[in-house]
Amino acid sequence: MLLHLEAVTKSFEGFQLHPLTLSVERGEFFSLLGPSGCGKTTVLRLIGGFETPTSGRVILNDQDITRLPPHKRNVHTVFQRYALFPHLTVAENVAFPLHLKKLPSAEISERVKESLKLVEIEDLQDRRTHQISGGQAQRTALARALVAKPELVLLDEPLSALDPELRMKMREELKTICKKVGITFLLVTHDQEEALQLSDRIAVFKSGQCLQVGTPKTIYEDPSDTFVARFIGAVNEIPGDIQGEASPETGEIVLSSPLGMFKLKKNGHSLPKQVSVILRPEKMRLLRSKSTTQENLMEGEIQDLIYLGSRTEYAVKIGPSTFKVFEQELERLKKRRLNVGDRVFLAWRGDDAIVLPQST
């Protein structure tokens, strides 16, 4: 365990970070994910040393660094707007932390070269920071944070200042670079796709509270909470009541909802009577006619469809609510043409549904 936050809290005007306990393993790529104002940046600043927690401890490598100023922490940050030093060249920026450590100049130039090579900007080393593009500035900032081989690198929304196309590209490169250097990374982001793609584990935040920590797969498929489910990916929700007990042999439970009775699988969580059933749009199928499968069926009318090439997104109106359904454009579906206004059946399996307590 490299980094450990122990019941850390922070409060300032209009914001409160609830007691947070969190561990990051050595070599891990860990993300703090949440909408803006959720406290994820505060956590980052507590680790970087720019803020002091109101209570609790920050432990890095078995050493209590709670009150250590930033310059004494072996933690470097890639800032949101990179914060490159405009009076220095790209190479001088990267050399900055090494100069502070008073390393011999031969070693400095060696390591700077190595770092610039890693992020593939060797040819820019003599440029000024205002002579490089956003993506190049991003790489410089990354090289600067990595060059002194800190124990932990903090990434504060590093890709948010880039345009979407470049962001996609940098995301992949970031992943490759991180794998190569084997340093522990902590990423702060509000972009769930970015978090899913890059992270080994993700902590989801909402208004100063950490709701769930888990691998991308866990967070997506087994969210602990309706907020997490909604924040990561698209959802359909069916509120309802659980009828009776689970059947002992199949583990099935029955949901009674305004849209009908549905069969669900019980999945470990102990559930109250009132629940929300979360259905991912890609886990539902559209049928022309009522089939006799074991699946749950709902009848509705296609309200809208968006053809996206690899898949089509449908909006299906069922009673008072609208359901999103994503279908892959599979060969077998080619013949079947659905149009707006068509009556269809939505089919879904009980064990694809995520059953969660209703949020208030």
């Binding site: 100023p69 930033p70 310059h71 800032f79 914060a83 490159l84 009076h87 900055f96 002579q131």
Partner: protein, 261 residues
Amino acid sequence: MRFKNPLVTFLFWMAITLLYLPLLYLIFQAFLENPNDWRSGFTLKWLIKLFDSPALWGPLLNSVEIGVLSATLAVSLGTLGAVGLSRISGLLPPVIQTLIILPILVPEVITGLSLLLFFLLCRFDLGFLTVVVAHASFSASFVYFIMVEQLRKLDPQMSEAAMDLGAKPTEVFWKVTLPNIIPGVMGAWLLAFTLSFDDFLISFFTSGAGLTTLPLKIYSLMRIGVSPELNGLSFIMICISTFLVLMLVSKEQSRKWVLRG
């Protein structure tokens, strides 16, 4: 959209002409055979004579020395203040704001009188040092505002980034903050020098009997009456001032160019 309003445009150029008329005439006059007759023909003799009057070189040297010292003092103080106070997040308390703006706002007469009173009560000998200190006392606030503006343009994350990469607070200042505000520091120095070099009133009150700066010399010549020597001196002074302003402006301009990249 181009601005087209002939009346406003005319009034603007009219006002500019009126502003320049006295100064242009002073320059014109410096070359007149008889300064009191505008049709008397041109000569360089007054300017040449100027270089032969040792009475002017002393005041000029005083003015330059006072300007250099007071500008250096003002820049050190104002920059320290700006760097220190910019670390405070949010607005400054109004008391401090007022304290800083006071030397700029208060008419020079009152600044001069109050400093005179202060120096006399402290039993300081009026002279070179009191003038240096008095000039720095008002130009430090100008420097402060320029430096605040400079610091405001800096990315606040930059000093955090430096700290994050291992720089101690003093290293942050010397290695990151200062190199980035150095153009501003030089501009502020030039401004403080210009303010000191051009100042009449505060020198008038705080210089005592022994010391004469160039503006004081001009004043005393003027009280005697219009002299050809004075006209030559005016010409030189206008040239120096214009040169200083253009330097200040070009600094500002080049800074903008650098920032734009």
